[in-house]
């Protein structure tokens, strides 16, 4: 159930491949995994974004994410889970977050992955600052609810 905060880019599929090879390789009970990847878009609120800076609260981030993961493992039958989250400067197209859940049954994998993601969005102390193409900077004001269509 690792929670990893990274200040350098990561390749999500390679990270997953390596993690499974190292940790889950011989686990034949895994029947389902669900993976969410959040990527930086180059547009937000109608403006083109040049770069994004992700600030966080070291210590509290890990504490909150571990709480969320613990709750997910209590609520659903999971074999394992993984969170990777970027901090620092992020360019368009770069992955910001990866959440993965491994389970015997798909209902658990789907539900838990979404639960972790929604809770991460509302509770983990990360803040995005966008730098526009004209060098203007602005804080992103709030996250939307992922259960409703936007």
């Amino acid at each position: 159930m690792p929670v990893i905060i990274k200040n350098t880019p990561f390749e999500p599929y390679q990270s997953l491949q390596q993690y499974e090879k190292k940790t889950l390789c011989q686990n034949n009970a895994i029947g389902a995994s669900n993976i969410f990847i959040g990527t930086m878009r180059d547009f937000n609120e109608g403006d083109q974004i040049k770069i994004m800076t992700l600030e966080h609260y070291p210590g509290m981030t890990e504490k909150q994410l571990n709480n969320i993961v613990d709750k997910a493992h209590q609520q659903w039958t999971l074999i394992d889970s993984l969170i990777i989250h970027r901090v620092g400067d992020i360019l368009p197209n770069e992955p910001i977050v990866l959440v993965a859940t491994w389970s015997s049954h798909r209902g658990d994998a789907f539900d838990a992955c979404r639960f972790i993601m929604e809770n991460l969005k509302s509770k983990a102390p990360f803040w995005k600052k966008e730098r526009l193409i004209d060098e203007q900077e602005r804080w992103v004001l709030s996250n939307t609810d992922g259960y409703h269509k936007t």
Binding site: G38, L54, E55, H56, Y57, G59, M60, K63, Q64, H85, I96, V97, M117, L120, K121, S122, K123, A124, P125, F126, W127, K128, K129, W139, V140, L141, S142, N143
Partner: protein, 77 residues
């Protein structure tokens, strides 16, 4: 009683610095910590507060050596 205070993101910009410390005799609520540390600066709407890295409400009390953090709604993920 010594309390460490931290501000993050837009709230750090608003306050103008990232850390404060207050020394005080009696037990304080989170609201009182804010008022003392910021000299009763107006609290931006939706400001969140954590004590020792757990979310708390503004009426909760703060203990000696606690770390109190104020920050805007989170926008990770």
């Amino acid at each position: 009683m010594s309390i460490k205070i931290r501000y993050f993101a837009s709230l750090k910009d608003y306050i103008g610095h990232s850390d404060d410390e207050i020394i005080y005799e009696k037990t304080l609520t989170v609201t009182q910590v804010w008022d003392l540390a910021t000299q009763k600066k107006m609290k931006p709407q939706n400001t969140l507060v954590a004590v020792n890295m757990d979310y708390v409400s503004w009426d909760d009390t703060v203990n000696d050596h606690d770390e109190v953090a104020f920050f805007p709604p989170v926008t990770g993920g």
